[in-house]
């Protein structure tokens, strides 16, 4: 029961979806399956919230190190959840102003929007912006031109870094743009690298990954790969 039913579900939904690609009569089945999948994906957000709750409640009850921050996590979690689900500060929907629950919770001016605009947005964007500092530090400490391969990597990176700014244009602007050597201008070189060398490398990677995904998928659908069920065998 614990292992057979999941295998049947996987195989059934897989066959339905693959068949629906090729036989129009089954197309509606495929659409249903993908719609169901999307709904489950939305429910998974609830699972995410629930897991967070579980982890931090345990941290607080065990008085683990930094449990005070867990209170901040849960406090902001519940506050955002409440203003979002209860639609606090939401103005009515102009088409149906007499229905209090029909307003737009994400519209500018609502409490939920406030949480997005003034906490979520600055925090997530600054966290990603921090990577600029770390990549600079890594550039100084880690990138060593020790061999030919490393030199190729760094040389390409230099051409791209220069070619994708005005510096590249400025450095080689003395090469006539209509002349036979225009391809040596740094901005042209960076285009050439992207469209030929990078395309070749990534194309090979794409082909390789596609084969890997197709074969793994087939093994999963046929029940040969059961690793997603956990527990070996």
């Amino acid at each position: 029961m614990k292992r057979t039913v999941p295998l049947i579900i996987t195989a059934t939904v897989g066959v339905v979806l693959i068949v629906s690609n090729f036989i129009p009569a089954f197309r509606a089945w495929g659409e249903e399956a993908t719609t169901f999948f999307s709904i489950i994906a939305a429910i998974a957000f609830v699972l995410g919230g629930g897991s967070l709750l579980k982890v931090h409640l345990r941290k607080i009850s065990d008085r683990n190190a930094g449990w005070g921050y867990s209170i901040v996590v849960l406090g902001t979690f519940f506050a955002t959840l409440a203003v979002g689900l209860l639609k606090i500060g939401v103005t009515p929907n102009p088409a149906f102003p007499d229905m209090p629950w029909a307003g737009d919770v994400q519209a500018r001016g609502t409490a939920f929007w406030w949480a997005y605009e003034y906490t979520f947005k600055p925090l997530t964007s600054t966290m990603f912006a921090m990577l600029a500092f770390y990549i600079a530090s890594a550039a100084f400490r880690a990138f060593r031109a020790k061999n030919l391969e490393a030199m190729l990597l760094l040389g390409t990176a230099f051409i791209i870094l220069l070619g994708r700014t005005f510096a590249g244009y400025w450095l080689t602007s003395w090469i006539p743009i209509d002349g036979p050597f225009s391809g040596l201008r740094i901005e042209e070189l960076s285009v050439y690298i992207m469209q030929v060398f990078n395309t070749a490398g990534n194309r090979a990677i794409i082909i390789g990954i596609a084969l890997g995904i197709a074969s793994t998928s087939l093994k999963i659908l046929m029940g040969l790969d059961r690793s997603y069920l956990g527990g070996g065998n």
């Binding site: 614990k2 039913v5 999941p6 579900i9 996987t10 195989a11 939904v13 979806l17 693959i18 999948f37 709904i39 489950i40 609830v46 897991s51 921050y69 406090g75 902001t76 979690f77 955002t80 959840l81 689900l85 103005t91 929907n93 149906f96 007499d98 029909a102 919770v105 994400q106 001016g109 406030w114 605009e117 003034y118 600055p122 925090l123 964007s125 921090m130 600029a132 990549i135 391969e149 990597l153 990176a157 051409i159 791209i160 870094l161 994708r164 036979p180 391809g183 050439y192 060398f197 990078n198 070749a200 490398g201 194309r203 090979a204 082909i207 390789g208 596609a210 087939l218 997603y228 069920l229």
Partner: protein
């Protein structure tokens, strides 16, 4: 307190004094203005505009009416609203630029424009969080930890709320209980009868949540099986068609690439370069694939080709590195722009605070 901490405190004090000074120089900084716009809607019964009815002589007898909400200052409201018509009123805050607000305050005709305290506080909260995250660059500290905790809490709740209102309500409840959803959350939805097939995703969803229970977690495997099966089937077909076949198709092209000039003749120079490009591309893909092919030992000719493949891959990774750097810096620039423009009012690239007459002509 060691010397380092004293240094930090001094730096923060100096920054604090600078910000405080900035707040009193020129137009100040970090304020958000909005215009309070009163909205009043009235429910009217207006005649249905139906061309077939207008032509008949018995127009007045057969004319039907529909009940709709219109703005109470509209022509329709004046024509059809009565004293007993139902009305609903509320205030809407529309943001205005500081420039507009300054002009309004100067002229004395504020027309509902005022300093918006919740949004101004919000702006300062955002600036505080931005600086709190940046403070980690110096060293880990409680401000950073608080900011980090806030982002975890807010984002988890944000996804839940959006998932609920944008997906679960219209796509799940809207199919299982269309009458209820239409009467409460989505009055604009078309009337429909329940689609019981949607009990399937509802059931799978509930099973997924068993993961949170102390017992019976194995039931969530059923949902996982559905997710894995769907993903595997979708990807198998798409990757073979979109990646494997299409990419091979794009690679296997004639090596001799003819480029014609404006007169229709062959442009020898351009043709040479285009052909060389195509040849390099083809060699590159084959060399990289050879490198990925581990069933044959990388020795002799195969080893040589595989080494060429490594060189191509190194160039690929170099390009990826260059692009990654580019992306990260743009994100940092955007954050600094927020601090300098929206908060500190040091720069004004979008003319928020100066009245520029020419802006707005284009577009």
């Amino acid at each position: 307190m060691n010397r380092q901490n004293v240094g930090v405190i001094v730096v923060f004090l100096i920054l604090g004094v600078l910000v405080a000074a900035r707040a009193f120089v020129g137009d100040g900084m970090g304020r958000v203005y909005t215009r309070l716009d009163p909205v009043e809607m009235v429910r009217i019964d207006r005649p249905v505009l139906d061309a077939t009815l207008v032509e008949t002589e018995t127009e007045t007898q057969t004319q039907t009416t529909e009940s709709v909400w219109v703005r109470s200052d509209s022509d329709q409201a004046r024509d059809f609203a009565t004293a007993s018509s139902q009305t609903v009123a509320w205030n809407r805050s529309e943001p205005v630029t500081p420039a507009e607000a300054f002009a309004a305050f100067e002229s004395g005709e504020t027309a509902g424009i005022r300093l918006d305290w919740p949004r101004t506080i919000g702006l300062w909260v955002a600036a505080f969080f931005t600086l709190a995250i940046f403070s980690f660059l110096y060293k880990d500290n409680p401000f950073y930890k608080v900011a980090e905790s806030v982002v975890v809490g807010v984002s988890a709740a944000y996804w839940m709320v959006v998932g609920f209102w944008d997906m679960i309500v219209p796509n799940l409840l809207g199919n299982l209980a269309p009458g209820f959803v239409q009467a409460t959350f989505l009055p604009g939805l078309d009337a429909a009868s329940p689609q019981w097939a949607y009990l399937i995703p509802a059931t799978f969803g509930v099973l997924l949540l068993t993961r949170l229970l102390p017992k019976g977690q194995w039931l969530s495997l059923w949902t996982l099986a559905f997710i894995v099966g769907t993903t595997a089937a979708l990807r198998m077909v798409a990757y073979i068609e979109g990646d494997f076949l299409s990419q091979i198709n794009a690679t296997v092209q004639p090596v001799y690439q003819v480029v014609t000039d404006a007169d229709g003749g062959v442009d020898g120079y351009a043709t040479f370069w285009a052909s060389l490009r195509q040849l390099t591309l083809l060699i590159g893909v084959l060399a990289c694939l050879t490198y990925f092919f581990f069933s044959v030992e990388h020795k002799g000719a195969v080893g040589g080709v595989a080494r060429l493949g490594i060189w191509f891959l190194m160039i690929t990774f170099g390009a990826a590195f260059g692009f990654t750097v580019m992306g990260r810096i743009a994100l940092l620039a955007a954050r600094f722009e927020f601090l300098f423009d929206d908060w500190l009012w040091l720069i004004d690239p979008t003319n928020q605070r100066v009245v520029a007459s020419a802006v707005g002509l284009l577009g």
